[in-house]
Subunit: 126 residues, 2 copies
């Protein structure tokens, strides 16, 4: 038995998981979970998602080593969205090498890149 | 012209917007935007969403007065998710009266309510 989420609500059985840095509160990324990845996350303490592009269970960091250690989980009022507060190993959640996937800020009609990459994606993903 | 998001990526034309307290970084809620709500948000500086339950454009706070004044907007690496950093008027984003919709924390097999409601929903929504 695990805490029940309302997976039936999502047409595709996937619910959004907001991933937040447990230390400074930065929003790192958004990913999707199904029942299997939800259970795996609760069992292992490592964030598991459902990869929509690869259509398979995804242990975040399985190729890069940048696993997310889940410190706390919050569930919203409708039980259809969660927040994972994590320790991000490797210091970056984004596959482009930035700490957060949200590294671009709206500035008028443009997007402004904030900060610098933590790692070089070409070196990590080959 | 506004910053372009990849609305074509979502089957239903809706992209998730993570709403974060601009002051303390708390994640307040997650809602969905379509092109119209995105443009309205950029034009007015007030968070607009697409209400999936009512199937209409939704100015957050239109009935409660608890409008979200958008301070900053971040766009993710895939241009299919945004973060709105907001000043939440009325101090609470959740229709249940809590500051954040994520007021329940996973504690083993249970959900533990964190904190107290800021307002009484019965008084606000009648």
């Amino acid at each position: 038995m695990v805490v029940e989420l309302d997976f039936a609500k999502a047409v595709d059985g996937l619910l959004p998981a907001i991933v937040q840095d447990a230390t400074d509160g930065d929003v790192l990324m958004l990913a999707y979970i199904n029942q299997e990845s939800w259970q795996k996350t609760l069992e292992t303490g490592k964030a598991h998602y459902w990869s929509r592009s690869r259509n398979k269970l995804w242990l975040k960091g399985e190729s890069s080593g940048h696993v997310q250690m889940v410190q706390e989980i919050f569930v919203d009022c409708d039980s259809d969205t969660v927040v994972f507060k994590v320790e991000q190993l490797g210091g970056a959640a984004c596959h482009k090498g930035y700490k957060s996937c949200f590294f671009r800020r709206v500035n008028g009609k443009n997007l402004e890149v904030m900060g610098e990459p933590v790692f070089d994606p070409a070196k990590i993903y080959g």
